[in-house]
Symmetry: C2
Subunit: 291 residues, 2 copies
């Protein structure tokens, strides 16, 4: 099979490396990116077959076209694939993506009548670029697939690619996906930024000196690519907003506990922390944490 | 020198192990805890010299008494040291602690006229008990010292203990300490709990299935000991409340960005994420993260 990757940073690069490692010979990979830096590095690393000089040349003859750019750039590429690039798209090709939000992207592709299957690997890190790519990034991680009305053969071809890189395909409606990640992924990103603003915005010198691993963990997401964060916020704003409002309700209840007349009731606060921990203990993802 | 540790979980146990590893022969260590489990395990592990049957026997003859229990239990022990245990406290002994908040504890000890030097090692993990203790826990980490009017010789003796376990003593006013950790440590703890409540409180099945490393990091603090969290909240409520209010102001500004009439302005949001990242990049603790 022939794969064209448009954008070759952490995600696209990790797909390319994973195919070389886990499915040698099964896929021929061409890649193009706006700057060309990722494809050049990937050729040197032996991770792709062709560093194409243009998107049109990258996608010519491809069975699968993978959009591996931030959400807003995905929308731009979909417009181009529906427009000037359409002629280079082989009949029977399927286009997919790895963006963190799905409704806006799937709707744009469906409206443009592209042969499109949305995708989102549930993995990531706060580094970016081909240099940060990792052949093991997707192993045993869920990879959401939003069929968006595509033919079953097209969906299965994308699922085949996902399995080739070690991921576990998980079909889901785009709205269900966006609601779930608004809570477990996008809200934490906004909270990490809000925490940073609230604590470091005033520039407390002692706070910086005393920061330990808890602070590092809680702000890690805010160390990521701002363009990625902006694309996520712009294409999932309504559901992220719902999640922020739910957090505000919870914080207001914490304020009531902390500012209780006569002083906080330690037993009530302990019960509240214990209830939160029980919610997390029921979470299979967290249960193995720290073992 | 003779050290008595009251409470022998993660912190007390790590101090004991660190002395054995880094300063063999320099300290004789007796320990007592309410359940007796930590001291029994520590004797088996060869980490202490005496598992005392009572607090009175543990502190008899000690040069330094270390309170290694959660904040509220520290207050109780201070009352006992000022009361029934006073007679067992050797003349010239100094009492110190490792609790996460300092004002309430230092004030109680000063009011009780105990020879007290407050302390707080800036390190931790979300595991607890002697079994989780680690001889390297304090190495090269700041350890805040609040002299609280104690004689300089007493302060220096506590600083000597801190250096013996690899920590870096850092003298600070109790209020300055509590304000700094309210932002970089206690606010993150409350946010981790609030995030958990907001996302898992409704029990979204998809959210659990899709949770990845970002979610794990952002909720790690809420997996800690609820009694510890309650003690922190109860003894630093006013400053944590200030920090929560500052976060709410920031979240309200995020809501305004997300709910902007006509849709979010991606450039403005990108600039906001970039500004947060610059604040973090200026943070020496974070700069080496992920290297």
């Amino acid at each position: 099979m022939r794969l064209a990757i448009l954008g070759l940073g952490l995600m696209g690069g990790s797909v390319a490396r994973a195919l070389r490692t886990r499915a040698p010979g099964a896929w021929t990979v061409s890649a193009w990116s706006n700057s060309g830096r990722g494809p050049a590095a990937a050729i040197t690393a032996g991770a792709i077959d062709v560093a194409a000089p243009s998107a049109a040349e990258a996608i010519a003859g491809a069975d699968v076209v993978l959009l591996a750019v931030p959400p807003l750039d995905c929308l731009t590429l979909i417009d181009e694939l529906a427009g000037p690039l359409r002629a280079s798209l082989r009949g029977g090709a399927v286009v997919t993506d790895v963006a963190s939000t799905k409704r806006a992207i799937v709707e744009r592709a469906v409206a443009a009548r592209l042969p499109f299957v949305g995708g989102h690997p549930m993995t990531g890190r706060e580094t970016s670029g081909f240099g940060a790519s990792d052949a093991a990034l997707f192993v045993d991680r869920p990879w959401v697939i939003c069929p968006a009305g595509a033919a079953n053969a097209a969906v299965e071809r994308v699922e085949g690619l996902v399995r080739s890189v070690g991921g576990v395909p998980l079909r889901m409606d785009a709205r269900e996906h966006d609601a779930a990640v608004a809570g477990i992924s996008h809200l934490p990103l906004v909270l990490a930024a809000a925490l940073t603003e609230a604590v470091l915005g005033e520039g407390s010198p002692h706070a910086r000196a005393l920061a330990a691993s808890g602070w590092r963990d809680m702000t890690r997401l805010a160390r990521g690519d701002p363009a990625m964060g902006a694309g996520i916020a712009a294409t999932n704003a309504d559901l992220i907003s719902d999640a922020v409002r739910a957090t505000r309700v919870s914080l207001d209840a914490w304020l009531a506990d902390l500012e209780r007349p006569g002083g906080p009731d330690a037993r009530e606060i302990e019960a509240r922390f214990a209830a939160a921990r029980r919610l997390l203990d029921a979470d299979p993802e967290g249960r193995n944490d720290g073992e």
